[in-house]
Symmetry: C2
């Protein structure tokens, strides 16, 4: 039914049907969760053999002979640097391997700039009272959380199907030196699932920021995370920035949180010498080094990048039917009726749904009351403020296909229920 062109009577009948369906779902007392991009237990199972790579009778030395059990090696073991270098498409020497969280490395990076600067003639960001950060929306709530915590004014930039609106970004960064950076998930973006086009990456690399310490936080979280056989490709920001001379602008992050274990993976970053010297100056005081045994465990498990890519096929096989389920449900419920729009990503962890404007909060609440937990409405915007109250992030990875199918049925009923009142 196309609500816009339906009669009031037809809408009222439809609403009654929807309410009946909703109450039936509610009566089931379900507990389904599509809130966070958490791998399913089956996905975690595929990495269990990694735990067997290191045990009490095997060699615990890195390839250079370093005893991984002891202190040392601030930026990680070489075999892990090499693996991450291939994921990020950078030189191994530019890689810093950290703990289990790339989010933590992003936080540390912003934190470093807050109280210190790589440039003698610039102030730490704490002293920039009107410091600002660009936030493409919808985007990743935990990114916005970091710059929110550090008191940045967060300027939203619309996300298009090929990346953030570069016209707006080029204008803003060239005019305002208090804009210190931008958050990006350039491949299979969180939550829209789109990948930045070559042109967008090139325009990023050729930005002319007013602030010398403007940084692109390039969170390549889903670099190898395809969910079907038509994967996206992402132009290499580091290469492009070398061509444009903006080598110090990008800082690239990735991790194995969604490759091996979300709770016990390994994270890494890569940046120019100026940036890494600046950050290592901090890390030198912050730690003696991260968990090298877990680094070695990962390096031994994968062998090389080819092994890692082969491993990712297993995730793809588990995720593919889940993404299909979500897209199929959306298609069968909302195709051409104007109540919802969504993306159909080739990878990543999310499907972004724009429900009818002004109803996202209502949809999330209706779902919750029927036992389906969604990411909070507005979470994909800084300070959880979605001006049109329409974006909802669907995370299909954790539930089983059966649970997901049921959860999506409920979701679709809720989307219709919330929308129909706007037409009656």
């Amino acid at each position: 039914m196309v609500y816009k062109s339906a009669s009031k009577e037809a809408l009222l009948t439809e609403k009654e049907t929807l309410l009946k369906q909703y109450e039936q779902y509610k009566a089931k007392g379900l507990s389904l969760n599509m809130a966070r991009g958490k791998p399913s237990p089956e996905q975690l199972d595929v990495s269990m053999p990694m735990l067997d790579t290191l045990h009490s009778t095997v060699d615990y030395n890195a390839q250079d002979g370093l005893d991984c059990r002891n202190y040392g090696e601030l930026d990680g073991i070489f075999e892990c640097k090499k693996l991450f270098a291939e994921i990020m498409g950078v030189n191994p020497d530019s890689v810093f391997v950290g703990g289990n969280s790339s989010l933590n490395m992003m936080f540390d990076t912003i934190s470093a700039f807050m109280t210190d600067s790589p440039y003698n003639d610039l102030e730490p960001w704490f002293n920039i009272k009107d410091r600002k950060f660009l936030c493409p929306v919808p985007g990743y709530d935990r990114h916005f959380g970091i710059t929110g915590y550090f008191g940045f004014e967060m300027i939203t930039v619309p996300m298009n199907s090929d990346g953030p609106d570069m016209d707006i970004i080029e204008k803003l960064v060239s005019e305002d030196s208090s804009i210190k950076g931008i958050w990006c998930v350039p491949k299979y973006s969180n939550p829209t699932g789109i990948t930045f086009s070559d042109e967008v990456v090139k325009r990023f690399a050729n930005l002319k920021p007013a602030a010398k310490d403007f940084r692109i936080m390039w969170d390549n979280a889903y670099a190898v995370h395809d969910v079907n056989d038509t994967p996206d490709t992402l132009l290499n920001i580091v290469d492009e920035c070398e061509k444009s001379g903006n080598v110090d602008m990008p800082i690239v992050f990735c991790s194995t949180s969604k490759i091996t274990f979300s709770g016990a993976g390994v994270a890494a970053m890569s940046a120019s010498k100026l940036n890494m010297d600046f950050l290592k100056k901090r890390y030198t005081y912050a730690t003696i080094g991260y968990d090298k045994i877990n680094m070695l465990r990962h390096a031994k498990f994968f062998g090389d990048f080819k092994g890692l890519k082969k491993h990712m096929q297993k995730h793809k096989e588990l995720l593919s039917p889940k993404f299909s389920t979500v897209i199929d449900k959306l298609n069968s419920n909302f195709k051409d009726n104007g109540i919802a729009e969504w993306t159909n990503p080739n990878g990543g962890y999310f499907v972004s749904v724009d429900v009818y404007p002004g109803t996202a909060k209502k949809v999330v609440e209706l779902c919750k009351n029927a036992g389906v937990v969604l990411t909070g409405a507005g979470a994909t915007f800084p300070n959880s403020m979605d001006p049109e109250d329409k974006n909802i992030r669907i995370a299909p990875s954790f539930p089983s296909v059966e649970e997901l199918s049921l959860a999506m049925d409920i979701f679709c009923v809720c989307v219709k229920l919330a929308a129909i009142d706007k037409f009656i």
Copy 2:
């Protein structure tokens, strides 16, 4: 020979003998290291069975059913909290379990206070232009490194045999609200190996700081690290602060870096609700949670605190002969001749030697040229400035007893060589 009362002729003969010995050592082309408090490979070996506690066919759930492989549980799994609570003598609910480095948690703590405050009416420390931190000396170089990095003026306080000079501390903190904290290694202190007396702990708990946000960084790194059968005991700072009403003053840290693996242990902290709420506010944005698989591995390996203490006996057996070697060499070379003084600790990782004033740098250099690497002279002081140029930290844990014995022979010759010139 007592240099002070020896004739010039006797001293010159002695110097010649020493030089001959020194050149003989030098000719051996040795490479010995007593620089850092690194466990020996044999010590790391005793924890190897821990790697077998988790493999692909065992349960990976925490006792509350949480899948340790997945995201979640910001402050760590309960069984690990419980273990650390017993090490620190605190309530498990007050414990935050982190990554592999307690130093990192200390850094994060200072970092949190730099840009934020738990008190609405107080400024973040970044805004306190003359911020100061108290540093008992000799002390731990990495502590001083953190407050140095964050631009604190570091005020040294002499360490006595029962802890830092409390008369000075009481006076300073009560008078100056820009003094924001003090570094402490209260048990088997780094480097002197002394343990704070009950009276010192009580005086700490009863401090009346001018700064409401004055914090005692209580780094209980060697809580269970005895090296002989006459262990020290430390009064519980948290209990004492509860009695005195200063609950928000202490922040306690510990780790398994010198219990299991220095490169892959688990760290933890404990503090009052006000402090933990303040720090968790930061951690909520900084990470989704630390490595729970490694936490579980530790919890399974030890079983309980009794198991952990039993495990520490193995370290004691390995470390005991090394500490004896150092003390025996010092005794046989310097007893009553006035060239060196040292401590004889019951635990920890160091022996602190005060060589003849004005010769520590020279001793370290002589040792280095003969193939024996020591902690840099002055390292135990803020900004590496030892005003008397006399303190040297000996770290006996890493070399074998044979290597250590030889290294100490060389060290003793170098101490004498450096001193004798002061008398000729």
